[in-house]
């Protein structure tokens, strides 16, 4: 059917407005990062009075950005890789075996997703401090504490996504491998994991993005030396002057890896994410 004219124009105007709304902050972020300090201390301007890349150099010395960056990188990388490994190990039996407790496990793990983060935060803080006092294992203020926290947060979705993915891999594949003489673990390692690579990549990005952007727990469970970007970036505002151009440069720099990763791999991610909702 041909599209009526009124609808075509509604569509065009609607899309234009949505694009404007979506891209305005992105535009402000990029142009502000290229402005000299004077431009951001006075009335807003759409274009820099002169384009400069100084903010991208200055931002490293206003706050210990490099340290935050390294912290975020370590925490996010370790947490996401560990999350994928643990989730794969759990997803395999859930997808392939019928054992007692399978339903309970899936239900409990998924239902933890709806709980407000603040509910876990207070006890987790108390437990971490207590563990440090009584056993000497310093989880509070350490990267390890943050890593296991993030790893666990991403587990439910990671497991759910991977179970969906493993279910779509024909069982005949692992059966054939087992006939060839490898055990169930051999089939898992040599057949199932290679076939599940797109799902694994998707879970990896998701877990990385979650850890990279998490604020609530990072604001409480880190100290000066382990602070991550998500919390550290607020440091620009506590200086004598607010270096908006540097903040935008820093925001752009810390966003680049995840945005590029997301846009390059969105196909995997979207397929994995929506698999469950559109059955």
């Amino acid at each position: 059917m041909r599209e009526p004219t009124w609808f075509r124009w509604t569509r065009r105007i609607g899309l234009a407005l949505l694009l404007l709304f979506t891209l305005l902050p992105v535009y402000v972020m990029i142009t502000t990062a290229l402005k000299p300090l004077g431009d951001v201390q006075n009335n807003f301007r759409w274009w820099p009075s002169h384009v400069t890349v100084r903010p991208f150099f200055d931002m490293w010395s206003t706050i210990p950005l490099a340290r935050y960056f390294v912290n975020s990188l370590i925490v996010s990388c370790v947490a996401s890789v560990a999350s994928v490994v643990v989730a794969l190990l759990a997803a395999y039996p859930v997808s392939r075996y019928r054992f007692r407790g399978r339903q309970t496990f899936s239900f409990v793990v998924l239902s933890t997703q709806m709980f407000p983060g603040i509910l876990f935060l207070l006890p987790l803080y108390v437990i971490f401090v207590d563990l440090g006092n009584s056993t000497g294992i310093e989880l509070y203020g350490s990267r390890i504490g943050l890593i296991i926290t993030y790893l666990t947060f991403t587990l439910p979705f990671a497991i759910w996504m991977l179970v969906g993915y493993l279910d779509s891999i024909p069982r005949e594949l692992d059966e054939a491998a087992m006939v060839d003489g490898t055990g169930p673990m051999g089939a898992f390692l040599r057949v199932v994991i290679p076939a599940a690579t797109p799902g694994i990549v998707a879970v990896l990005i998701y877990a990385f993005m979650t850890a990279w952007g998490e604020v609530l727990f990072a604001s409480v469970l880190t100290d000066d030396s382990t602070r991550t970007l998500a919390v550290g970036l607020q440091g620009y505002a506590t200086q004598n002057s607010v270096y908006w151009n540097q903040i935008m440069a820093a925001s752009l720099t810390v966003s680049a890896p995840v945005v590029i990763g997301f846009l390059l791999l969105q196909r995997y991610l979207v397929a994995g994410m929506t698999a469950g909702s559109i059955k």
């Binding site: 609607g14 899309l15 949505l18 694009l19 979506t22 902050p25 402000v28 502000t32 807003f44 643990v86 989730a87 039996p93 859930v94 392939r96 075996y97 019928r98 054992f99 399978r102 793990v109 933890t112 997703q113 709806m114 709980f115 407000p116 983060g117 603040i118 876990f120 207070l122 006890p123 987790l124 108390v126 296991i148 993030y150 666990t152 947060f153 991403t154 439910p156 979705f157 969906g164 279910d167 169930p184 673990m185 998701y206 979650t210 952007g213 998490e214 604020v215 609530l216 970036l233 607020q234 903040i247 935008m248 925001s251 846009l263 969105q266 991610l269 994410m273 929506t274 909702s277 559109i278």
Partner: protein, 324 residues
Amino acid sequence: MVDTIERSAQVAAPGTPGPRKRRRSRGGLLPYLLLAPAVLFELLIHIVPMAVGVFISLLRLTQFYIHDWRHAPFAGASNYRVALNFDHATGKALLHSMWVTLAYTVLVLAISWLFGMAGAVFTQHTFRGRGLIRTAFLIPYALPMFAAVITWNFMLQRDTGAVNHILVDQLHVVHDRPFWLIGQNSFFSLVVVAVWRQWPFAFLIITAGLQSIRSDLYEAAALDGAGVIGQIRYVTLPMLRPVNRVLILVLFLWTFNDFTTPFTLFGKSAPHQADLISIHIYQSSFVTWNFGTGSAMSVLLLGFLLIVTAIYLSAFRRRDDDYA
């Protein structure tokens, strides 16, 4: 809780039966061995802290006991009484925060869904540049939330921000430069920023949902004389029901528990008019170091969310039965 895509984990949560399969073997001990790490982490970070949280809510856990919480005096239900005494300052503030959060959630949810629906329907049929537009729509979702919200914070500055520049200097709709991050306006700022962040998720899920609608349904509706509106009303919306049911629940929980947006936009102390529940509990716990009351509030919040979810799911089930 944690931002980004994990919300869609809940997509499968409520009562979706797993795909039916052929017989599975039981596998002896192997499944439990493989599950052990996941169970261990879940226990350590989710289950045990939750139990401890309920326990703490029964203690008088203030700054004097924070490093030795097991010796904090038992308080019974007094934390709950304080939190629920709406004549008193603490209870009144909690009730106020609940109302603010509810209004915020309903507004953000409704607008995000509407935008997502519009964006998805408008890009349903191919045209030149569609791929680019879809990618652009996903950018707010791909950006780390804290970086995006900081940008909004800059745009909403009274003297140097883009929003006042557009409204006051260029469009002349207002005369005095309004404050956007304090006072009554802060609530609307919060809503706008949250919608900006969330509607792409609705767009993504609805777009995926639209792809599963067979085109002959539209053709049949068109033959029956349905125009664009009729097709949306009689084909698109009914076919999206299962997707919408889950999407709305996920968006609701996500928005209700949102912490990153207010925290990054306002810092540790949100304006009274935009005092969302998560930041309210955070503040009453870590600013005043009264963990007992904070935990009691968290438990009450969880109870509230469980009840809302249960009512929502059962209401949907009953309506679906009516249709069947």
